[in-house]
Amino acid sequence: MTSDALPATTRSSDVDGRPSRTAWLSVLWRHRNGRIGLIFAILVLLGSIAGWTQLTPYPADQLGVGHILASPSTAHLFGTDQFGRDVFSQVLQALAVTLEIAVLAVTISGVIGSTAGIVAGFVRGWPGAVIMRLADILFAIPAILFALAIVSALGSGVVDSAMAIGIAYVPIYVRVVRGPVLSLYDADFVRAGRVLGYSRRRLLFRHVLPNVTGTIAVQTSLTLAWAILDEAGLSFLGLGPPAPTASLGELVSNSTSLASHAWWTLAFPSLAIVIAAIAFNFLGDGLRATFDPRELSR
């Protein structure tokens, strides 16, 4: 043989020839952005769980838990607002709302978009063409405008916002997923599978899909970041879920007039949006590396 120089790779893989279940985590950790994204994402997740379960330092909606417009202190990490509410507790609860909407939105766009993308890539002829033209039409409308239109039509609420944002991101999924499916369908190893007698179903589920899960995971993480930003945008414009449910965008919106007197009422909710968006953006970046089989055996 010309080269036996390649080291036998046993690391992060078991004897059976499958990478171990945790191998991808170590790849993610070795990736700089992936590591930052992972840490931030865990923080965001913990924060929103705290908000969700109301395990916040103070009840988020309760007035007068501190002085009015108190600056950050050990008692009130992010200070208090004009009604004496604890901003930290508010941010945690709003984070939960924002994340709930974003996750719902991504689930909607991911399920619809990926399925449509796979169908468009695997089924030749008119069904694929129709799906792509529909996606093109949707794609031509800016996501936030589209979401605005839907919320105006449907009314506002957690599920409505999620639907609005989710549908707006369907075409991106369709495009991102269809591309690899198309090229995989023409790949030699899929042809080899056909020569071996494998059914279309087997080829789709055993050979094409495993090679696009990475793409879908990366897209999901990125879309999550965009959805968080869009949700903040919608809420900022007053189209978020109605009171008393407050999302991060609403916190920002409510505190713009206070910012000159109490910067913390604006800065911390904004920072939360930025961190949440960065978390999933970077995580997506890291996941991209994770799903490259080359990385798994390094």
């Binding site: 080269s3 030699d188 080899a192 020569v195 007698g197």
Partner: protein, 317 residues
């Protein structure tokens, strides 16, 4: 020749593009492959070699003509049965292996799908790896962890896993390092010495084909222009195209003079509609060649050629 395992009759394939563009990739190719024999198919790129390979293994349906495997029409075989009879080895070994499947998983999938060696798959996988002279430790590797030659061995092992009668090798060495080519060729010859298997070896490189083939067919623009046994075609070529191909094999000697070279570019208009396809590049062209296309005829002991001049010369002799 022993039992015929594959017979192609007037296979043709035309691709219709948008508008009026039509490509006749294959224009009536007939061939015969004996049990345990190797048929070499040579020709420059675009002559229809790979189209022929795809038709034979069932990746495409011929637009005309038919094929029989061991006496049964291929169109009557279902995918699974056909797969058990004929397999294909691709040019690029990396792209022909699923990047997310380790060697063992890829081989196991073939065995379980075809219900072969149930319960003893692992043993069979080891056997297959031995057959292609790959160490068992390679079973746990991903394709990208293999060298080109190793990956091609895996692809060969996968093709052999179904115990096919025929393996079509579509330029199996072209994507490999020159140093590895001989290893793969020797491996293929070695396998044929151990088990009964027929090869169709497709290449643009006569020097590769000559090592493996019993019979050789030379293709030009979708047709076979010359065929015969190894020594007939290579040592006593009749068709001017075969002559040119044989001379195109590089000789490491600057003083060697080449009497006739193939015009490097195909005429932009494609094949002339009337007469011989080779007329525009042929050094022996005669007025007759411009009018009548030569048929592929036997000029003695199964040496067939499609050239007016060559046929006349052999009959005069």
């Amino acid at each position: 020749m022993a039992t015929v395992v594959l017979r192609g009759m007037d296979l043709a394939q035309r691709y219709e593009g948008r508008g009026k563009s039509v490509v006749n990739a294959l224009r009536g190719v007939s061939l015969e492959l004996g049990e345990g024999a190797t048929l070499g198919i040579v020709g420059e790129s675009g002559c229809g070699k790979s189209t022929l390979a795809r038709l034979l293994v069932g990746l495409e349906r011929p637009s005309a003509g038919s094929a029989e495997m061991s006496g049964e029409s291929t169109s009557s075989l279902d995918g699974r049965t056909r797969a058990r009879r004929i397999q294909l080895v691709f040019q690029d070994p990396y792209s022909s292996l699923d990047p997310r499947q380790r060697v063992r998983a890829a081989l196991r999938e073939v065995l379980t799908f075809h219900h072969l060696h149930s319960g003893a798959e692992d043993q069979r996988i080891d056997e297959l790896l031995d057959m292609v002279a790959l160490g068992r430790r390679f079973a746990n590797r991903y394709p990208h962890e293999l060298s080109g030659g190793q990956a091609q061995r895996v692809a060969i092992a996968r093709a052999l896993a179904v115990e096919p009668t025929i393996v079509v090798l579509d330029e199996p060495t072209s994507a490999l390092d020159v140093s590895v080519r001989a290893e793969i060729i020797n491996l293929l010859i070695g396998i044929q010495a151990r088990i009964t298997i027929s090869y169709i070896f497709i290449s643009h490189d006569l020097s590769m084909v000559r090592h493996v083939s019993d019979t050789i067919a030379v293709m030009y623009l979708g047709r076979i222009v010359e065929s015969g046994s190894y020594d007939q075609v290579l040592d006593a070529p009749l068709h001017p195209y075969t002559v040119a191909l044989a001379q195109a094999v590089p000789v490491p000697d600057p003083t060697v003079v080449r009497p006739h070279r193939v015009t490097p570019v195909l005429t932009a208009t494609g094949p002339t509609t009337r007469g011989c396809d080779y007329q525009d590049r042929c050094p022996l062209v005669e007025p007759h060649c411009r009018d009548v296309a030569p048929s592929l005829d036997d000029v003695g002991s199964n040496h067939r050629v499609a050239c007016h001049v060559a046929k006349r010369r052999t009959t005069i002799e």
